[in-house]
Amino acid sequence: PLTQTGFKILLLLCREHPHAVSRSALLQQLWGSQPPDSDALKSHIYALRKQLELVGAAGMLVTIPQLGYRLVFDVAPPP
């Protein structure tokens, strides 16, 4: 199941779509002024990506190296 932190990350990325969200902004939004190290964020992103894989949307969460993350929707219009 999607964790609370994973849901928050997904929500933040959706809000900023199609723009990317910086790593610092995610840390700030999730943990405030005293965030844990960036490995915690990577772990949550990894878990979120696994959840997206389960619904066939593995490529939707794109990593921009060292900077942040972006959602990419490649949804075909309904027939």
Binding site: S22, Q28, S38
Partner: protein, 407 residues
Amino acid sequence: MSWSIRRRLFAALAGFTVLLCLCYTGLALVIAYVTEDMLVQRLLEREAGAVSMRWQQHGKLTPSGSDLITVYGGYLDLPQAVRQQVPPSAPRGEVFTTTGQHYHVLALDLVAAGQPRRSYLLADVAPVLVVSRLAREVGGVVAGVALALIALALLLAYWLARRLVLPLQRLAREARLLAPGGAVHFSERDRSDEIGFLALRLETTFAELQAVLQREQAFARDVSHELRTPLTLMHNSLALAGAQPLAADGQAQLRQGVDDMRATIDVLFALARAEQLPGDVVDLRGCIEQCLLRLLDEYRWDASLLALDLPERLDVVGNPQLTMLPLNNCLANALFHGGPACRIRIAYAQGCLSISNTLPAGQPRRIQGFAHGQSLLGRVTQAMRWDIRFHAGEEYYRVDILLLLKP
């Protein structure tokens, strides 16, 4: 010449001193003369009582026991000089003659054979009065001493006025010497009284006024300097658009010019309005990430060419709005001038943020836009008490920003 505050204060103190001296001198003289008159009057009354008692015992008027006092049986017996000034009905009187004599008269009502009879006691007091004689004999010395004391009092008044007004005069002199752009310092600012408060407030107000004037001058200079080039570029693009449809490059240039102008105007207003630019703590790494992500939306550039060597969080003291300008400017110029294949390195070490990019070999260097922005970059970083240095090489360009770190 208008009177200075020191002269006014001296005049007030001196006038008060002289007035006080004159009042006390006059009061002392009045008290002395009144005391003398009361003493003589008491002597006359005592003698009148003695004469009246002897009249009752012996039935006749007897001479006075004092050689100062003469008893007269009736009004007509009195000396003519006395009768001219004292009417018969007056119970007492004081007479000054032109020959220098001074009389006191007291009427004494007696009863003789059932009939009232008025007698008079006349005292010639001129020989025994001391005040007038004292004034004549030592008046000069007393007046001299009094004048010397008044002169001493005036000297003290002058010294006091000078001492009291000196801080104000110093403040006024320093305020008169203030010049636009000069240092502001009032020597009386450390006093604990109202003058110290006034000096401190003046100093603060003048410094603030100077800062506002400097910002206004810098604003006018920056507007003239920073907006002229993008306006010219936009004007040229529009002129070309009149002759033929604007190509994609031209549109991009026009859009870039508008964006640059908007950012420049925002920063210029922030610089002009801001009273205390530094003071906030800004996470510089977050700003860099945000800035790079925005630029990646605009430029075709592979983010894997980026080398980021920054701590997890880089807290610096600065203005959040102004911090973005140097970052945007440096990174946008790095991408613009370096081209799509350039490598960008952003590193932080020992209070210095370095942004460097590689330049394509063999291509002419395009530095027009970058040079144009350097002046404003310098102003922005200076406003936040940062320092910026540019290093141009043949194959690279590097900008070093010395940051003000969070204490």
